[in-house]
């Protein structure tokens, strides 16, 4: 007998979400990993600012920064950061057709075309970045 029971005013049961609900199924784990790539994006921004600061402080400071980048644990960590950035890119571009629905001549552009267009943009943007870094501009 449920001591809280009142006839005509039953106690409905509401399940609490556990803190680690996202460990419950693979799709949730993949979702949280995807969301955590935002940390890599933020870190990349911070590292860019750090390099600009080192430049501000002069050649010696920048040389120290480059040596910091070359230290093995730092390098290993940055490899992880790069992997996270790539995961961000791939998951972001693959989801683009969900948000961007274009109509051409009355027919909806197929999802594959939207994704392909985004990947092309990625290739072009990467090319532009590399061209700039090699002093092309």
């Amino acid at each position: 007998m449920n001591p809280a029971y009142r006839p005509y005013h039953p106690k409905w049961h509401r399940e609490r979400m556990p803190i680690f609900w996202w460990l419950g199924q693979l799709s949730y784990i993949k979702f949280i990993v995807r969301e955590l790539t935002s940390l890599a994006v933020g870190y990349a921004a911070v590292l860019l600012v750090a390099e600009v600061c080192a430049l501000d402080r002069g050649a010696a400071a920048h040389a120290r920064f480059l040596r910091f980048l070359a230290a093995p644990p730092v390098l290993a960590f940055h490899l992880l950061v790069c992997a996270a950035l790539l995961f961000h890119t791939v998951t972001w571009l693959n989801l683009a057709p969900k948000a961007l629905v274009l109509r051409v001549g009355g027919r909806r552009l197929p999802d594959g075309a939207v994704v392909a267009g985004h990947y092309l943009a990625w290739v072009l943007a990467s090319g532009a970045v590399v061209w700039w870094l090699r002093g092309g501009l």
Binding site: E35, D56, H88, T89, A99, A125, L137
Partner: protein
């Protein structure tokens, strides 16, 4: 419109996510993997200063940094709400995320402004 903040931050989040997706992998692999490993020669300090000499390029880098930071801020805020169920700390988390992003963005602007001019 009640609570006008969300569309504003979502716009920053989505444009930050797009720019980060398109530009950051190549930039990161070049600057922080290929360059320290010696696979590519530069850019060295003076070379990088030269690359950032045109104000337009400083502006581009600033925009990239700012949008990337606000992308992180918005997304991480929701990750904390949902992943760790900290939604009751709404104000504190929003202040830390957006406040942190704002401070770092301001600092980035200052740092880019003060890049040494080339002789």
């Amino acid at each position: 419109m009640p609570r006008p903040r969300e569309p504003f931050f979502w716009a920053l989040f989505s444009s930050g996510g797009m720019i980060a997706a398109l530009v950051l992998p190549a930039l990161a692999l070049w600057l922080w993997v290929a360059r320290p490993l010696g696979w590519v020669a530069g850019p060295t300090g003076p070379e990088l200063a030269a690359l950032l000499a045109p104000p337009l390029l400083r502006l581009c880098l600033f925009v990239l940094i700012a949008l990337a930071l606000f992308h992180w801020a918005h997304r991480f805020r929701y990750t904390l709400y949902d992943g760790l169920q900290l939604a009751h700390l709404y104000g504190l988390i929003a202040s830390i995320c957006y406040g942190g992003a704002t401070l770092l963005t301001a600092f980035a602007a200052w740092a880019l402004w003060h890049l040494p001019r080339l002789p």
